[in-house]
């Protein structure tokens, strides 16, 4: 089959063998960060529906984010990004108002003391995740006046890639492509080998840390299922259902892509030229994602890889190369034994 591992692939479910009556339109999320209000209802709804345990009462000091990152027990994660930059035509009311350096300077000091191992001033937390770029901030050098300000929020989630590295490397068949084109782990089949963890170009999937025999699915790889159980019943995934502003939209991927393109255009007209889509392009390194985003700046600002490439892209070539090498070795051996006769 062409493009099974890389490149545009219109119907990954069909590619995985779904057909006939089982076929469904590909489902996905369109997460519009321009209307995310950072309420975290998605995080809570996800944990409630999927019985994902709370995973730590840690004050991270990373703006209002205390979840840290996507992982085995955080399938939706809202990021909060505070930056001295302007958002579209917004007047944040902060530029020029105050005296002194911006927070980044103070945060740098905290980061420095974290790096030097000086924990005296850092309380009990072992994590200093500042969650934002700290270099070249305006106003930092002279410390005279505040500059502009923006607070970005983004609800991150598994991308349900067209070419999913995690699925490609799974040796047990625990990870599989559903009839909706999504990627799901079967926790009763997963053996916790962990191959999928480095295979994800977004750092999404992870094995659950906990106490053996106490924590549910301890050691098992976990991530968003796009609420596979709900989809089967014709329901909307829990996060999208709970989102009060429709920042998380669920539906047929084709339709979501059209809606997203129109939204970007509208934002451009309203003076937000930075608005862009992330993950919707079937020609990108993962063949486009089932869960894609509208961002208000470069992906790096949100901690997303700018050019994600499925880690198994080179697998066919590697197998070919390895096969050729094996053949060559075999031929060499045959030749060697042959000539030695």
């Amino acid at each position: 089959m062409s493009n099974s591992f890389f490149g545009p692939l219109p119907d990954p479910a069909a590619d995985a063998g779904w057909g006939g009556e089982d076929r469904q339109p590909r489902k996905g999320f369109f997460t519009d960060t321009s209307i995310c209000i950072g309420c975290k209802a998605c995080e809570v709804a996800c944990k409630e529906w999927n019985a994902v345990p709370a995973d730590g009462m840690n004050f991270l000091g990373s703006s209002y984010d205390n979840s840290g990152a996507l992982g085995a027990s955080t399938w939706r994660h809202v990021k909060f990004i505070e930056q001295p930059k302007t958002l579209g035509t917004q007047d944040a009311g902060i530029a020029g108002t105050a005296v002194g350096p911006p927070a980044s300077d103070v945060l740098n000091r905290a980061a420095d003391s974290a790096l030097t191992g000086d924990r005296s001033s850092l309380g009990t937390s072992n994590t200093v995740d500042l969650g934002m770029p700290l270099t070249t901030l305006p106003g930092q050098a002279d410390g005279a006046q505040r500059t502009e300000f923006r607070w970005l929020m983004e609800s991150d989630v598994c991308k349900h890639c067209t070419h999913a590295g995690c699925l490609d490397v799974c040796p047990t068949g625990s990870l599989f492509r559903t009839e909706f084109g999504t990627v799901v782990v079967q926790d009763d089949i997963c053996n916790g080998c962990g191959y999928c963890v480095p295979a994800c170009p977004f750092g999404v999937i992870d094995r659950r840390v906990g106490e053996k025999g106490v924590t549910k699915n301890e050691g098992i790889a976990q991530k968003c299922t796009l609420c596979y159980d709900r989809l089967g019943e014709g329901l909307t995934p829990a996060c999208a259902q709970a989102c009060p502003t429709q920042s998380i939209q669920f539906g047929d991927l084709d339709e979501l892509r059209e809606r997203a393109a129109a939204r970007v255009e509208a934002l451009h007209e309203r003076g937000v030229p930075e608005a862009r889509l992330y993950g919707e392009d079937p020609h990108d390194g993962v063949g486009g994602t089932g869960a894609f985003f509208l961002l208000l700046d470069e992906p790096e600002v949100y901690g997303l890889p700018p050019d994600p490439i499925v880690t198994t892209r080179d697998l066919p070539r590697m197998w070919r190369t390895a096969g050729l090498a094996a053949l060559a070795m075999l031929a060499g051996a045959v030749a060697a034994f042959g000539t030695g006769r």
């Binding site: 975290k40 809570v44 505070e82 009311g93 902060i94 108002t97 927070a103």
Partner: protein, 872 residues
């Protein structure tokens, strides 16, 4: 709004998608600011200067909606020549009595009304008494009464004593420069707000103001809302679609808990609680609600009161016994929550019920709250979780300091697990006055029961105990109609039966037993009942209209009348007669809501008209006509005594007919407008256990140089009873933290992620430090004011998933004189790096501060600011 009301905020986002401009005015840059077109950081407690500045801009640039203002407000009304303004008296209005710290408000009245009592809420009552019983609450759905609707008007608006000219003079000093000096908002940004708000108001456009409970929690809180009301009336934004002043409540159904009140001074439907010595007879009581000569629907109060008494006492309520008036308990002063706490401390209160309330964490002056409860004989706590108010006897902070010891606390605590909202049936009333019925989804677990179950059976048992008693005091309880049908293994009373009783019935005649269609059906002759007149109609035609749930997309009407039911009579916009011009035509097609149909001879439109249906716009009453018939065809404010919106309130307020800027009770800033520093009528408690910081005019104020304010985060709910026991919410905001600017962090050497100790004369608490650009220091002239933000969700206790020091422990108690709300959105403090001392050392640490500041019980409590020459 995005922080505390994220579900409601979806409609702001929807409006934004359609091109609405969103301006967020808040000391901090919050999740709401992140979504707004403009964020305006201002100093906590300076809002009247800001609002006054906008009023001044509107008047100076003649941006007011003239046709609306002349016809629908009291702008043209001439006020008494006895009235003196704050500019004449350096911050006081006429009538101030320094002895009682109250106003004799009789000089504030309209010209020609002098000598009608003193223009109070209930004529004839003393101002101190009115303040102490929070009489302002009675104005929850109307203006104060006036003995006579006749007023002198000058529709050219030129008379020097007409309201518009009085306003103009009063606010002339609230210039953009002054706003910058008081609020810390730059002149340029302030003018941008003024331009945006005025450009978006008029015939074709309307602007809405949205506030949350924090706006009310000031010693001048009522006047904040009045400030917004003046702006909205001047711009013609009341009674029109997309306009109004929208109050977002602190909990679900807070609107419902004032409509059918949990307040000591109100009966359902904003009827006043009778007061001993003032309302001795039924006629005295009725006379206090409305004057027979005034305009509007309050003249029908006798029908509301009689029907209400019939709902309570049924057949036992007769004309002979004034429908049971003598059985109704009386109040004799301030029985509000804070006075009750002080009475507990003084051993005057034996028992206390806490229902879904956690005062050990959620109320100001947390230490007094906990110490007060330790004086009780018994305490009943009904809550979802074992909240700190139920466990204070073993884990209050005062146990750690040695002020309390478990062995010595004699309070017997009864904890009752409560059913949650999905485990019981009933209604929520939201901020649009809309009742929405919920069905029971699941049975409550274990011993958990609904409030209705608890009180019904408590009442049943009390009545059984008292059966046969001849004591007069027991007759009210024994004669109650207490016959709700019950069902199920736990004999759950029917919420539906309660809603029907609230709606009311015909009791006699051919309709006997039928439900009322609305309050217009109510009679004063005992032939109808109704538990809350404004809710009458919720069961019109025998249908529970609160349970209507047709999506607006299926209704063919954008106002969606078949979704829930809004009081009164399912009106979605109050005073909507004002959405049409004086001739009854919509001000514009775009903003059409209701209008006069000349051919049909009646009012019609998208909404239910809030006006007598067949009263033509041209109708003018005969002189001396009162009640609804006294309303002219262009009197849209039908619950006001003169039918007009009050730019200037000639009666009803305890602290001034117009808002004037006063500094908070505790402030590091000298009032630049007047010699009078703070609200001269605020209620203070001069007690050793309630110390205030020195005012900026006193020695020692520098000990507490910073402003702090408190607020909620999306992740938690108020004092935490519904969120800190849930791991999935607790992990999202696990620890108490303070938000500080990088400038303050540098000034006080506060480390991001480290600890800080915040100190007031009440106590010292510790919080993790979150340094953020979202907080900015404000420059006021030569002074820089630093503000510290404290979310108030955490408390000290052992049962919750997460706990921490409580921000509310930092406050003293000083109250708004109209409604007795505490000032807990602006006060002063100190902040130092590191954790606070523990044990008795904490008391010594705080005492060191109070000694350095020289604090006595008089400190900060001088209500009338002495003139400059009289100061030490």
């Amino acid at each position: 709004m995005a922080e505390c009301h994220p579900v409601g905020f979806q409609w702001v986002m929807e409006a934004k998608l359609r091109g609405a401009k969103v301006i967020h005015i808040d000391p901090r840059f919050t999740r709401t600011s992140a979504m707004a077109d403009m964020h305006v950081p201002l100093r906590a407690g300076s809002d009247i200067a800001f609002l006054g500045g906008i009023i001044n801009y509107i008047l100076e640039h003649e941006k007011y909606f003239r046709d609306y203002v002349v016809s629908y407000t009291n702008a043209a009304t001439v006020i008494s020549e006895q009235f003196q303004d704050t500019d004449d008296l350096d911050g006081l209005f006429s009538g101030y009595d320094p002895e009682t710290a109250t106003y004799d408000t009789s000089t504030w009245t309209y010209a020609g009304h002098e000598g009608e009592g003193h223009g109070s809420v209930d004529g004839g009552e003393h101002e101190v008494s009115e303040r102490d019983r929070g009489a302002g609450h009675e104005l929850g759905n109307r203006g104060a009464n006036l003995a006579d609707p006749l007023v002198q008007r000058d529709e050219t608006l030129q008379h020097p004593r007409c309201v518009l000219q009085v306003l103009k003079r009063h606010y002339a000093r609230y210039t953009p420069q002054l706003v910058e000096e008081v609020c810390g908002v730059s002149e340029a940004q302030f003018l941008q707000v003024c331009e945006d708000v005025t450009a978006n108001s008029g015939r074709d456009r309307t602007t809405a103001w949205v506030y949350s409970v924090g706006w009310t929690q000031h010693t001048v809180g009522t006047q904040y809302i009045r400030g917004a009301a003046i702006i909205q009336l001047l711009l013609g934004n009341m009674g029109r679609p997309g306009g109004g002043i929208l109050a977002l409540r602190g909990h679900a159904s807070i609107q419902g808990s004032t409509d059918i009140p949990t307040l000591f001074n109100l009966l359902p439907g904003y009827l006043p609680m009778p007061k001993a010595g003032i309302h001795d007879s039924f006629q005295d009581y009725l006379g206090a609600i409305s004057s027979p000569g005034q305009k509007g629907f309050w003249t029908k109060a006798d029908t509301y009161v009689t029907s209400f008494f019939k709902a309570w006492w049924g057949e036992a309520a007769t004309a002979e016994n004034d429908w049971g008036f003598e059985w109704m308990p009386r109040i004799n002063g301030d029985h509000g929550t804070y006075q009750t706490v002080m009475d507990m401390l003084d051993d005057k209160v034996e028992g206390y019920f806490l229902l879904g309330q956690n005062p050990a964490v959620g109320s100001a002056q947390g230490r007094m709250q906990r110490l007060g409860m330790s004086h009780l004989k018994w305490l009943v706590v009904r809550d979802l979780n074992m909240i700190e108010s139920a466990s204070f006897w073993k884990d209050a902070p005062e146990i750690a300091t040695g002020e309390l010891s478990t062995e010595d606390i004699e309070t017997e605590v009864f904890f009752f697990p409560a059913a949650s909202h999905v485990e019981k049936e009933g209604t929520f009333t939201q901020t649009q006055r809309m009742l929405q019925w919920r069905h029971k989804a699941v049975e409550p677990p274990g011993d958990a029961r609904s409030e209705l179950h608890f009180f019904f059976h408590l009442g049943r048992m009390l009545r059984e105990r008292l059966a046969g008693s001849a004591l007069e005091r027991d007759q009210g309880l024994l004669h109650l109609t207490w016959d709700y049908p019950t069902s199920g293994p736990h004999e759950d009373p029917s919420g539906d039966a309660v809603l029907r009783e609230i709606n009311g019935y015909h009791l006699t005649g051919d309709k006997a037993g039928q439900l009322l269609d609305g309050f217009a059906d109510m009679k004063a002759d005992g032939s109808t009942s109704g538990g809350c007149w404004i809710y009458s109609g919720v069961y019109a035609g025998g249908v529970n209209r609160a349970a209507n749930r047709v999506p607006w997309t299926e209704q063919g009407s954008w106002i969606a009348p078949d979704w829930g039911w809004a009081w009164p009579m399912n009106r979605r916009v109050l005073y909507n007669r004002a959405s049409a011009d004086p001739d009854g035509r919509p001000w514009s097609e775009r903003k059409a809501l209701v209008w006069w149909d000349e051919d049909a001879g009646r009012w019609t439109g998208h909404d239910v008209p809030d006006f007598p249906l067949t009263k033509a716009p041209s109708y003018r009453p005969q002189e001396g006509t009162s009640g609804p018939e006294g309303l002219a065809g262009d009197d849209p404010f039908i619950m006001q005594a003169d039918g007009k919106g009050w730019l200037y309130a000639p009666a009803g307020l305890a602290d001034g007919p117009m808002p004037a800027h006063y500094e908070p009770h505790e402030s590091p800033v000298r009032n630049p407008l007047y010699n009078q520093q703070a609200n001269p009528t605020r209620k203070v408690y001069r007690r050793k256990d309630n110390p205030s910081h020195p005012s900026v005019l006193e020695q020692g104020h520098q000990v507490f140089p910073y402003v702090f304010t408190t607020y909620r985060l999306t992740e938690h709910h108020t004092a935490g009873g519904m969120s800190r026991w849930l791991p999935n919410l607790s992990e999202l905001q696990p620890e108490f933290f303070c938000e500080v600017s990088p400038e303050l962090a540098r000034e006080r050497d506060l480390q991001h992620l480290g600890y800080a100790t915040i100190v007031t004369a009440r106590t010292a608490i510790e919080a993790r430090v979150l340094v953020t650009d979202r907080v900015v220091p404000l420059r006021l002239g030569d002074q820089v004011v630093h503000q510290i933000g404290l979310p108030y969700h955490w408390g000290v206790g052992g049962d919750a998933v997460v706990s921490g020091d409580s921000a509310n422990d930092l406050f003293e108690l000083s109250l708004d004189p109209n409604v007795l709300i505490q000032e807990c959105k602006a006060a002063t403090c100190d902040i130092v790096p590191g954790r606070r001392p523990t044990g008795p050392a904490l008391l010594r640490f705080v005492e060191d501060y109070t000694t350095r500041a020289g604090i006595t019980i008089e400190t900060g409590n001088t209500l009338l600011t002495p003139p400059p020459e009289g100061r030490p």
